[in-house]
């Protein structure tokens, strides 16, 4: 093979980007950034084989490739479809996609308990963000929501099966990050649930990562349970010399106290590096850590309500002169703030 691999050109919502061959549409869109990135509830770039399940990242391929310009007959899951040279993709410019995505969000919510007021995930919940952006304000579902029997999966991780959207991320973590998988999916259809092997406890060095990858409040930190709302806590980046993991974490402060420790997340809500249980649960004193500084929080996040950062126009808008003019009012407002 030659040293330089020819990059492929893909156009997403009118913006062209050159990416490595084999990149998925979703990752190509993430390279562009901004509004045109399809939401992803189940895809996780660090977990092999994830994606394709939640269907929120559906996009329309209006031109297959340069060689075969036919459009794809159905909407495709952008996280599992690789780009072809000359491919044209419509995401937020296609009413069909918006309509389908709205449907998916509604489907995800019909059996969700919507107990955000008592849920520890509220404020950093992907489903909350997704529903806020795409969902209708009212449900058309008039039946009792499904519930599951509570099971105890150990003293560190709290499982709320009712909130689960079955993204399968935690089972991939168990498969790929931890050395001993004890939990998986039981049952079929809307009765399928995350469970351990005959209610065994999840207990190994990296099991806490299931909390970070969970897009909803189905898996939460038992040591942080009902302690505080996330938007009242202040995230601070810190690190320590850890023999098992990278030791790069975010500490969540309330006053002087560290309420919880999580892995650092990137702008797409994905963990940058997985951390071990010692970092997560056992080192909750400031002395244990070397503080780097406050975590950057996107200004759209509810967590940023305590520390406003400068609102920046979306990267897409910054790149395009036409869009700058079209969004002049917002641009000016942003610079004033």
């Amino acid at each position: 093979m030659s040293e330089e691999i020819a990059k492929v050109k893909v156009t997403i919502d009118g913006i062209t980007v050159e990416v490595e061959p084999g990149t998925s549409i979703l990752n190509a869109a993430r390279q562009i950034g901004g509004d045109i990135v399809p939401p992803a509830m189940c895809y996780y770039s660090k977990l092999e084989g994830s994606g394709g399940k939640c269907r929120t990242c559906l996009v329309k391929v209006s031109k297959g490739s340069e060689k075969d310009p036919r459009p794809m007959p159905k909407l495709v899951a952008s996280c599992r479809t690789t780009v072809m040279d000359g491919m044209e993709v419509e995401n937020i410019t296609s009413p069909e996609v918006i309509e389908a995505r709205k449907g998916i969000v509604e489907m995800l919510l019909i059996n969700h308990p919507l107990d955000c007021p008592v849920c520890d995930q509220a404020g950093e919940c992907d489903l909350q963000n997704l529903a806020y952006e795409h969902g209708a304000e009212k449900t058309r579902y008039e039946f009792e929501r499904r519930t599951f029997d509570r099971i105890d999966i150990g003293d560190k991780v709290q499982l709320h099966m009712n909130r689960c959207i079955l993204c399968y991320r935690c089972t991939y973590v168990a498969d790929q990050i931890t050395d001993n998988r004890v939990h998986g999916i039981l049952g079929r259809g809307d009765a399928s649930e995350i469970s351990t092997y005959i209610e065994k406890a999840i207990d190994n060095d990296f099991s806490g990562n299931v909390i970070d990858v969970c897009p909803v409040g189905a898996l939460t930190d038992k040591t942080f349970r009902f302690k505080n709302r996330v938007w009242f806590t202040k995230p601070v980046d810190a690190h320590r010399n850890c023999p098992t993991c990278s030791g790069k974490v975010t500490l969540w402060y309330k006053g002087e106290e560290v309420l919880r420790v999580t892995a650092r997340k990137d702008q797409f809500g994905e963990v940058e590096e997985f951390i071990c249980n010692t970092c997560r649960y056992d080192t909750k004193k400031t002395n244990d850590w070397i503080i780097e500084g406050p975590t950057h929080i996107d200004h759209t996040s509810v967590i940023s309500s305590n520390h406003y950062e400068m609102a920046k126009p979306l990267p897409v808008i910054q790149k395009d002169q036409l869009l700058i003019e079209a969004n002049k009012v917002e641009f000016d407002r942003a610079t004033k703030i």
């Binding site: 399940k53 939640c54 019909i110 079955l166 049952g187 079929r188 259809g189 809307d190 009765a191």
Partner: protein, 449 residues
């Protein structure tokens, strides 16, 4: 009576044993293929025959075979999909019960054509008797030297295994079947890669329906061109139809494709008319997942042409006024049947069988079932009907595998063609519990015979 290729010797006593089957000319196709043909010749012959997949999608079998990747040093597999669980379809079970050797003969020839050294028959877990019958038949064939090492001195080795399924409808989807065969949870895989590139244990795999594989036998015996002469247009050959519902003679019939639907329903050679001299109300032409059609549209297409039992004719008019041949599960409803109840029943089935992997299907099938249940039991609202249409639309095409489509189509089509009956359930809830809506607008077409 029309020509029979598969069920020709079905009435010969003891045809399920090797000796009788051999006396009736069985295993000729194996001899012919292994001794005088190359694997590519067999594929070419199947391509010439125009045989289309009998499992539902109707994809040309020869074409599917030619897509199989043939990388060096990698095994290739043939898997026979005998996980027949579509409501209304029972032809494969019939074939396996009475003609197990026909399937095995087809498996040997097809495996030879694809270069598979190991092949599997994935049988639905509930079909225990058929699993035993097949295992016995495989042992007989192995004794006679048609399986195992160096078959008939040709140097070709083949091992054939029967794998009992886990008992889920979803395992009839080819990638879910492969997962289940590998011993995993039967979740459909995300395509691409297609099984022809990466199937069982990451090796190139072809998954074919029982009937498709059985049909290879007459194709090799008589030649592909001869086979292609039977049938109508691009629908060649014969097809097994599982006829059920309110007809006088339910059962499995082998028809030449292109037979008029009217003849199939009313001729004494086939269904023998509607039972108890009732009138025909609706037909599900290809198993529960295809759109239901009212009597007027099943007998004649929207343009007034008589509708034929073929892939093209049944799908004439698209989803507006057509249906699909599917797997050939022909279910007839007489005037006393309630379409709402039937639709609810189907929705309940798909709700129960959804694998739960992708969200539209997992959540949507249950939602549709609940709304239909409410309508059927007299608690529905007028807005429920549009809600069902909308939910079905949101599921259709947005799922990983075709189960979502299969769940959405019966509901969408029932409302499209029988909306008045759904509305009647809303406006007359008490009456709806006591009696059925009857024929309504479709009465004038049912005096055809």
């Amino acid at each position: 009576m029309a020509r029979k290729l598969l069920l020709e010797n079905i009435n010969v006593p003891g045809i399920n044993t090797f000796d009788v089957y051999r006396q009736q000319g069985g295993y000729r196709a194996v001899e012919k293929a292994l001794k005088s043909m190359s694997p590519d010749d067999v594929v070419e012959e199947v391509k010439k025959s125009g045989l289309r997949g009998r499992g539902g999608a109707g994809f040309p079998t020869g074409m599917k075979w030619s897509f199989l990747a043939k990388p060096e040093g990698k095994a290739r597999y043939l898997v026979c999909n005998a996980d027949e669980s579509e409501p209304g379809t029972f032809k494969d079970r019939y074939l396996m019960t009475y003609l197990p050797h026909l399937l095995i003969e087809g498996m040997i020839v097809s495996s030879f054509a694809l270069g598979a050294k190991v092949s599997y028959i994935y049988v639905r877990g509930e079909m225990m008797p058929q699993i035993r019958i097949l295992e016995k038949a495989i042992a007989e064939a192995k004794n006679a030297g048609f399986l195992g090492k160096n078959i008939l001195g040709s140097g070709y080795d083949l091992e054939l295994y029967v794998q009992p399924g886990g008992g889920a409808y979803i395992c009839g989807e080819e990638t879910a079947l492969i997962e289940s065969l590998e011993g995993k949870r039967g979740n459909p895989r995300i395509k691409p890669p297609f099984p022809a590139i990466s199937g069982v244990w990451g090796c190139p795999t072809v998954v074919n329906n029982v009937e498709s594989i059985a049909a290879v036998v007459p194709i090799i015996n008589d030649g592909g061109e001869e086979y292609a002469k039977i049938g109508n247009g691009r629908s060649t050959g014969t097809k097994l139809i599982s006829a059920s519902g309110n007809i006088n003679k339910p059962g499995v019939y082998e028809i030449e494709l292109g037979l008029p639907v009217e003849e199939f329903i009313y001729s004494d050679d086939y269904c023998g008319g509607i039972a108890n001299s009732k009138r025909l109300k609706a037909v599900v032409a290809g198993g529960s997942s295809v759109p239901i059609l009212p009597a007027n549209l099943i007998l004649k297409t929207i343009t007034g042409e008589p509708r034929l039992m073929s892939y093209e004719s049944l799908s004439d008019g698209g989803f507006q006024s057509g249906s699909m041949l599917g797997s050939g599960g022909f279910i007839a409803f007489d005037e006393d049947q309630c379409i709402v109840r039937n639709t609810w029943n189907y929705a309940r089935f798909y709700h129960h069988e959804s694998c739960g992997q992708c969200s539209p299907c997992r959540e949507g099938t249950g939602w549709m079932e609940k709304v239909l249940h409410r309508l059927e039991y007299g608690h529905g609202k007028m807005s429920d009907i549009d809600l069902l249409v909308d939910v079905a639309k949101k599921i259709e095409g947005n799922t990983i595998c075709p189960l979502g489509d299969a769940a959405a189509w019966p509901v969408a089509s029932a409302i499209r063609h029988f909306r008045d009956e759904f509305e009647w359930h809303v406006t007359h809830p008490k009456e709806a519990l006591e009696r059925n809506y009857g024929l309504a607008n479709y009465a004038e077409f049912t005096n055809a015979i």
